[in-house]
Symmetry: C2
Subunit: 198 residues, 2 copies
C-alpha cells in the first residue's frame, strides 16, 4: 500500500475504519460459492503488472461509460441542480485507480475486508458524499450496482490482452476479475441489506 498516503480519503488499513460485519469465515464460504481459489489469486496478481501502467486509460473508459448515462452520472451530480460535480468525480477517480491495483494485488485479508465495508458505506445513505464533502444524491441506487460489473469487466478485457499474454491466460485473468468484482460488490452492498438477510 506504499505511496498511497497522497490519495485523500483512502483510509485502507488505518484506524479510521471499523471492523467489517462480514467475518473471514463468511467470506471463505462466499469464495466457495463462486469457485474463487488460489488460481484466481495467481491470475489477479498476474494482471497487476499488466494494468499498473494503464490505470488512467482504464479509468478513461469507465468514466466515459458512466458519463454517457445520465442515470449513472446522477450519483456524481449536484442534488439540487443535477450538474456533474468535477471535484467529486476527480476525488473518487483517484481512489478508483487505487482500487484497480488493490483488486489485482489480491491480498484479501482482514484489513481488506474492513475497507470493502467502508467502500460500501460510501455508496450508501450511511456515508455517501461525506468523504469528499460532496453535495450529490443521497445513495447510489442498488439496482445499478451489480449490472455495472459487466461493463467494468468486459472493457477491462482488451487491457488484459494488451501485453501479449496467451488467450487462455487472458481468459483466466478476466474470470478472476469477474469473480472478485462479484465478491466485492456483495461485500459493498451489506449496508443496503435488511437486518438478518445478509
Amino acid at each position: 500500500m506504499k505511496e498511497t498516503h497522497a490519495i485523500p480519503g483512502y483510509t485502507f488499513g488505518t484506524s479510521a475504519i471499523a471492523r467489517s460485519p462480514v467475518t473471514p469465515g463468511d467470506f471463505e464460504l462466499m469464495k466457495r460459492s463462486i469457485l474463487f481459489d488460489d488460481e484466481d489469486v495467481k491470475y489477479l496478481r498476474l494482471s497487476r503488472g499488466i494494468v499498473a501502467d494503464q490505470v488512467e486509460a482504464i479509468l478513461d473508459v469507465w468514466y466515459g461509460f458512466v458519463g454517457s448515462q445520465p442515470h449513472l452520472l446522477a450519483s456524481f451530480s449536484g442534488r439540487v441542480d443535477g450538474k456533474p460535480l468535477g471535484n467529486y468525480l476527480g476525488a473518487v477517480r483517484k481512489r478508483f485507480g487505487q482500487w484497480i491495483l488493490d483488486t489485482a494485488a489480491a491480498e484479501y485479508d482482514q484489513r481488506w475486508l474492513d475497507y470493502q465495508h467502508e467502500i460500501g458505506l460510501r455508496h450508501h445513505h450511511a456515508k455517501k458524499n461525506r468523504t469528499d464533502g460532496a453535495t450529490s444524491t443521497a445513495v447510489v441506487p442498488f439496482r445499478d450496482l451489480f449490472p455495472l460489473i459487466y461493463p467494468v469487466t468486459f472493457t477491462l478485457r482488451p487491457f488484459l490482452a494488451s501485453k501479449g499474454h496467451a488467450a487462455g491466460e487472458v481468459e483466466k485473468m478476466y474470470a478472476a476479475w469477474l469473480k472478485s468484482c462479484l465478491l466485492q460488490m456483495t461485500l459493498w452492498t451489506y449496508p443496503y441489506i435488511r437486518d438478518g438477510d445478509f
Copy 2:
C-alpha cells in the same frame, strides 16, 4: 408458456402474483447500465434451441454443485435436522428447468417482471418455503446469491458450445446469459433491500 401448467407453483402470468415494484422504466435503465440490448435478446433466443433438450443435464451440473457445498445445500435442508429435503429440491428443480427456458425466451415484459419479483420473494423471508410447504431455513442468505451467478454461467458454457456454433456466437450467448442473470438477480433481491435504497 405452453405446457407449463403441470409445474406446481409455476405461476408465471397468472393472477396469483402481484405487480413488480420495479417499473418497466427502471428496468430499461438497468439494461442500459449493463449494456443489454437487442443483440443480447437475439443470442439468448439462439441459446434456447441449444439448451432446450439439455435442461436435465444442466440441472444435474448445477444441483451437483449446490449439493457439494453444505452452506448452499442448507437452504434446501430441514430447519431442525439439517437433512436435505428431497421433495423441496425436486419441486424447485422443475421450476428451475422452466427458468432456463424462460431466460432464453427473453420475453422480458411486464408479466416476466412480475414473476421475477415473485421469485425474489420465494428466496426471501417473505415467502421462502411457502410455495412447496417446505420446512427449510427461513431465507437464502444474500451473500451467496450473486456469487452463484459465476458457477451457473460458467458451467453453462460447454452446453452452449455443444452444438457446433462458432466460438464468437458461443461467447455472445454466454455474455447475454451473464447479463440476464445479473439483471434477474438484481430484481430477485428487491425484498432484501432496505426501503429507499433500491
